[in-house]
Amino acid sequence: MRTVDTQDIEELIYNMALSAGVSLTDGCKSALYAARDSEDEGAAKFALDTLCRNFEYAEAQKMPVCQDTGMAIVMLEIGQQVTLKGKLLKDAVNSAVRRAYADGYFRKSVCDPLTRQNTGDNTPAVIHTDIVEGDKIHITYMPKGFGSENMSKVYMLKPAQGTEGIIRAIVETVEVAGSRPCPPVIVGVGIGGSFDTCTLLAKRALTREPGIHSARTDIAEIEEAALMCINRLGIGCQGFHGRTTALAVNCEWAPTHIAGLPVAINIQCHCMRVKKEVL
């Protein structure tokens, strides 16, 4: 057995959160540069160039890339050989988020769903824990903005709709979202599981860098086909038309029920701010 103090988890997540707010992933940056370079002159190219200058400036100044510093999504894969000591894990994660949002001058964007009263410190974080093999803790941290989250959807497809139905659902979701989620977007897709787990699969898909495809060939083919169809929609950066409406389509899958084909589509704007660490 290995004992880990939750204070160490808190410190690590605090640093991940501070860094995530002000920087994009390398894969996202490369995809944005490529999109800018491939675009013809016009509003879309101007917008893509502005976005590239923005993330360069934000990182240099340690300033939030986007003012929507999001809800804090924390995914923890805890090895079964790990024993935790110290404060409650949930309290350690929330403390890390509270401190990072204050110290980083990040916007506090979490509120009561009905009264809309702001909690004032961006907690609670959204925490997903999974027990896995080994004696390590794998931590994935992503702040998730809601301009894009609002455009996400779940489809309970019929098994007969198959691959074609999945691709149609993905493309339709991006088309309906149009200019509103800050395209070019990254599309996270969860295929299979149940009503609840397909949405988590879709969120996990958003932690994979653009350009890296699923290891499963038939899933990778869905990713490529959907991306091609999306980029033919002509929505373009910010809805200003052009070649790039999405930077990537990432699909994760899980076995499902014989009667169903759940598909969740989680939209991420061009600000992919994901950090991964192992403790």
């Binding site: 003012q67 809309r116 809805g239």
Partner: protein, 175 residues
């Protein structure tokens, strides 16, 4: 790239066409979801607003807190369509226009055209660069709403694109 000094005149607005790139300088007011709800409640009750709406430009935004030495934290636009339900009444009451991101409803487009107003799209996700354009920032209403309060921003060379012009044209239309 057209340089525009705020407040806009009717002549300025008539010279703008959907798709034009502009640099705005002058005073704008931030307001988003919760502030709009309060503005509507005050208007419905016939009460005065805590700021002048006539000829103002509302920026759909909620900034990050400013770091020491900076006038504003990151301050890019939020999705405008959430304000679709509020915008026509404000435009009819004298609002000169809005800045946000993404499409707005046909009702908003019609209200822009009938009142000779304009809707600008800022570049969503460029919050850090927009903070650079802000010279001064002051909360002038609804401070209890934190980042959702109404901030008066003094901006210089704030980049935007004309999304809806006063002729009913939209940059989002497929040609």
């Amino acid at each position: 790239m057209k340089r525009l000094q705020l407040p806009l005149t009717s002549k300025d607005i008539k010279e703008l066409n959907a798709g034009d790139s502009v640099l705005l300088s002058g005073t704008i007011l931030t307001a988003r979801d919760c502030a709009h709800k309060r503005i509507k409640e005050l208007m419905d009750e016939g009460k005065a607003l805590p700021f002048e709406l006539k000829n103002a430009i509302i920026y759909y935004a909620g900034p990050c807190p400013a770091k020491p030495g900076f006038a504003s934290g990151s301050c890019g636009p939020t999705t405008s369509s959430r304000m679709d339900v509020f915008a026509p009444a404000l435009l009819d009451a004298g609002l000169a226009g809005m800045i946000g991101k993404g499409e707005m409803s046909d009702e908003v487009r019609k209200a822009i055209a009938r009142n000779c107003r304009v809707y600008f799209a800022a570049i969503g996700g460029a919050g850090a660069l927009y903070a650079q354009c802000i010279r001064k920032s002051k909360c002038i209403a609804f401070a209890d709403l934190l980042s959702e309060g109404v901030y008066e921003l003094e901006v210089e060379n704030f980049p935007a694109v004309v999304a809806f012009d006063c002729y009913g044209k939209s940059i989002y239309d497929n040609e």
